[in-house]
Amino acid sequence: MKIVVCIKQVPDTVQLKFDSQNNPMLDNVEWLMNPCCSYAVETALQLKETQEGSTVIAISLGGPKAKDGLKRAIAMGCDEAFQFNNAASDAYSIAHSLADAIWKQVPDFDLLLFGQYTDDAMHGITGPMAAEFLNVPSITLGSKVTLTAPGTIRVERQTELGLEGHEMTLPGMVCMANSSVEPRIPSIKGVMRANRTEISFWDAETPVSAVVQTLSTVRKPKKSGGTKIDGSDAQTAVDQLITYLKAQKAL
């Protein structure tokens, strides 16, 4: 099986701090492999382990930070890693660039894995858009992928109402959202291999025009707190809460 995983490096939004102008301090925060992308890598590696002779190729569209993510992908166990960069700005042009590069460089892929969304731009549409450009089937919100027969996978999909099981004929694309497995920590051996591995560059074409434009980005206003009471006497605290909820017309 030939598996292609698309990954992206993103700032750690949990640790992200803002300056006095409310701009995010992106240089003062650690950048890491986008969580959903790390589920995609883990899924690819587990499939590889069950299918002898499989190859996992990690690719990333981006500048110098993309290289760090690809090094980590190699350290985790991916076989090859490729980086390319262009000025694609919205999900449409990014998906088009990725599809175009995959079509040229790995036309014989069996499975394409994406993260459901990236923590920075939060588009949530790049994977299925790329699948459309490549004319392959797509399943989003994946939580588990297993090979059931040659050329057929089963994908568990986590929706708002529960778990669904789908079957897909390959080649195809799956977006991973919540993984049922924790992405592996690279082994020492893996890290050494990553250090020795050169990340190759693909030539990038000029991207297609963006269809979505971002006009501005501002910090989300922080909600402020209200009353705080001592609840060491539970009965008094509950009485106060009931009074409060009634006053707020919440009861």
Binding site: G165, H166, G172, T214, K220
Partner: protein
């Protein structure tokens, strides 16, 4: 003014999805002609969509449209859009909309923005970015149709108006779809389960609950308040609760009228998913827990004393 379509969905029970009704409310504010497009729908849903404000329901019937299939849905909507050229397509946020609308947009070479918080008269959208910590203003300037999904509760559900005319056009598109995916099973926790994003009341538990069996009191409190149960990532990762209940980054974003946080410290990962709730109540024994910074009413105390008493008090009231 614009000709707006709302891609509408219905529940397994054949009722219009809350998000679809909210999208009709948004369309009503923004356009002068509102068409709801319903795939394999019931008469009940068609009526509900018109009473919510749709001028017309385009009821699309085709054997490939039930159950949901990404290829059939994409082909059907693309052919209808090409034939009838709407200016804008709106939808509620759902696992179906976010699955096939990206393919529709890619095929039509147009833009799609998911989970919008609001749309202005010029269809300029706001949406959360950077782990829900920033709000971006985005637009689809050139291409048509502009496609958006709306975050749950971004628009209030319209009050049904029974005097509105129910105007339904049924059509059966010719599709040459060869689907490569197939639904083989659905394991739903509870078919009557209310979608978490639509709940008016959510009672959530964190690590402070100490063990999965202690969620019984969270469930009971939610039941008494007519609400749903939520959880933090720590809890779902530990396997105490299903991922479908996870609120926050990598989980769901909710904005109920009442949110009760029990034994939740209030780390940013959780808070970004619930801080737009109308009223936030928090119970935590650590007085420095960050959840108190955003709680409208915070109680520094032991959930194992306070919650059973609260349940008892509410039971006595009802």
């Amino acid at each position: 003014m614009a000709n707006i379509w709302v891609f509408a969905e219905q529940t397994a029970q054949g009722d219009a999805l809350e998000g679809s009704l909210e999208a009709i409310a948004a369309a009503r504010q923004l356009g002068d002609e509102v068409t709801a497009v319903l795939f394999a729908g019931t008469e009940k849903t068609e009526t509900a969509l018109c009473q919510a404000g749709a001028d017309k329901v385009l009821s699309v019937q085709h054997a490939g449209l039930s159950p949901y299939n990404v290829s059939y849905f994409t082909d059907a909507l693309v052919s209808l859009i090409q034939e009838r050229q709407p200016d804008v397509v709106l939808a509620g946020s759902s696992s179906i909309a976010s699955d096939f609308l990206p393919r529709v947009a890619a095929r039509l070479k147009t833009g799609l923005i998911l989970n919008c918080l609001a749309l202005d008269d010029h269809f300029i959208a706001t949406k959360a970015v950077m782990g829900e910590q920033q709000i971006a203003t985005e637009t689809i300037p050139e291409t048509k149709p502009k496609i958006f999904t709306l975050r749950a509760k971004a628009y209030a559900k319209p009050v049904p108006d029974a005097s509105r005319t129910v105007n339904v056009e049924t059509c059966t598109p010719e599709l040459s779809t060869h689907p490569k995916t197939r639904l083989i099973e659905i394991a739903q926790a509870d078919s009557n389960l209310k979608k978490l994003e639509d709940a008016e009341v959510i009672v959530s538990g964190g690590r402070g609950l100490k063990a999965p069996e202690n969620f019984q009191m969270v469930e009971e409190l939610a039941r008494l308040l007519g609400g749903s149960v939520g959880a933090t990532r720590a809890v779902t990762d530990a396997g105490w609760r299903p991922y479908s209940e996870q609120i926050g980054q990598t989980g769901k974003t909710v904005s109920p009228k009442l949110y009760i946080a029990l034994g939740i410290s209030g780390q940013i990962q959780h808070v970004v998913g619930m801080d737009s709730s109308k009223l936030i109540i928090a119970v935590n024994k650590d007085e420095n827990a960050p959840i108190f910074e955003i709680a409208d009413f915070g109680m520094i105390g032991d959930i194992f004393q306070i919650v059973p008493l609260l349940i008892k008090t509410l039971q006595e009231r009802s």
